[in-house]
Symmetry: C2
Subunit: 257 residues, 2 copies
DNA sequence: CCTGACCCATCACGCAGCGTGAGGGTCAAA
DNA sequence: TTTGACCCTCACGCTGCGTGATGGGTCAGG
């Protein structure tokens, strides 16, 4: 007898035994005979029918539609067209979805706050989590710190990059004035000091001229800040300090509000 | 109190009440309070959370992934990337499917025998099922009919269209020879007659020259055939008849096998 | 005759995300 | 107080099988 068991049929067609059981359950492919022990036995005709089923299944057709086709109740072409239409629709939906996800991804990327890793990449040694801790200890109770923290926590990597670029321009202005031999109370130096103040206001916290003086003092007192400026040009730290004080002197009288 | 019931929330977000129930069941969105009667009451915070859920749901994200994002257990970007990958994969699969279905459809179409409707469209009044019946009565017992029937029953609409185009060329050849004043035994007329014979052999049944004569006689005897030719050009029916006979005279002697 | 290694069988739950009743309280207006 | 619109909690249904659990069948070797 050339009748095959479930396992053999499954291997031949590359489908699972469970699938054959399922087709039997729903009446899509009921094997013509059973052995005495109740084993399903598939005839050549069954295999032919199964071949058709597997083919249409690969086209994503639902089982009941395949049943109709095999029963001759409905023309194949109709089902194929319906399949075609539904696949086209899902294809469109998926394409929309893909675009929506791409958009979301991009928006998320550009809106995601920078991670400590991002910051290390941007600022090198001058950024470290311990230094942040220390600063938190020292300044954490001040309004300026809280304001700064609440703003910077939402900064993205590109925000930080923009900030850095701007701050380098400010430093370059100081360095240029120093290199040109301008005194610390020259208009150029004052302009640089004012730009420095506005830069900090723009990115971190409100900074009036008296507070700005304090900051300048700290730049000289804390060797890490001093080093930052001295690395750019020797004498720059003191120059920046003096310029800021001169700027505060010059402007404080003219503040109006 | 600005707490909303399920129905209100559902309307606002354009989702179903059942969906809200489901989110509650699986713990994705458990409304903060219940009324005394057990009604779900959604707070502003709940609505915010729901807005996020709905957004990600529109991106096709599974509920548990959304849960993780909301819990802060997993970064959003990871999930978005996974979504992106899986959507891209499904998109490819669907595109393959679409192609497979198109192929299947085309194969099916080109292999599907033409229906009587197709034939009526192609041949107009000259095709009718009664005429087929009548022809079956008259010729059904002949070998030529059987051969023709067994071949034509598999012809598709495009096969028939090709046959029609070819037959019109043959008729045009006859008409041209007639219009040019060539006698029915001129080489052009003979060539047309031979083309006519081969055309019938190619599409319908084996046709030797003696059988061809019989066919020519019938074209004159049956007024429906006669009309077909006379509609093309007056005198064409007789001309075709004569040409076929002349062609048979000319070739029959030279037939070698 | 027993044992083991594979076959096969029939339940029956699981899944993903709700849809869709069934059966029964609740609430505000008339 | 009745009505009608809402709300509640089960609980099954859908698609096409995957994945055990539990229990017999078959065949070769000891």
């Amino acid at each position: 007898m050339d009748e095959l068991s479930v396992g053999e049929v499954a291997r031949i067609f590359g489908i699972s035994v469970r699938t054959l059981h399922h087709y039997d359950e729903v009446g899509l492919l009921v094997p013509q005979t059973r052995s005495l022990a109740g084993y399903r036995l598939y005839s050549a005709a069954d295999l032919e029918r199964l071949a058709t089923i597997v083919t249409y299944r690969r086209l994503g057709m639902p089982l009941d539609a395949i049943g109709e086709i095999l029963a001759g109740d409905a023309p194949l072409v109709d089902h194929l067209r319906r399949q075609q239409a539904s696949v086209a629709e899902r294809l469109n939906e998926l394409a929309d979805l893909a675009r929506a996800i791409d958009d979301a991804l991009e928006r998320t990327m550009t809106n995601t706050p920078a991670t400590p890793e991002d910051l290390k990449k941007l600022f090198g040694e001058s950024y470290s989590e311990e230094r942040q801790e220390e600063a938190q200890q020292t300044w954490g109770h001040t309004d300026a710190w809280r304001q700064s923290a609440s703003r910077t926590k939402r900064y993205t990597a590109s925000d930080w990059a923009a900030m850095k670029a701007e701050s380098e321009q400010v430093n370059a202005a100081f360095a240029a004035a120093l290199a040109a031999g301008m005194p610390a109370d020259s208009p150029d130096a004052l302009a640089a000091a004012e730009a420095h103040r506005r830069h900090i206001e723009a990115w971190f916290y409100d900074l009036d001229h008296s507070f700005h003086r304090g900051l300048a003092d700290m730049y000289l007192a804390d060797p890490r800040f001093t080093k930052t400026y001295e690395d750019i040009a020797p004498g720059l730290a003191a120059y920046v300090h003096d310029a800021i004080h001169a700027n505060a002197d010059a402007r404080q009288g003219s503040e109006r509000y």
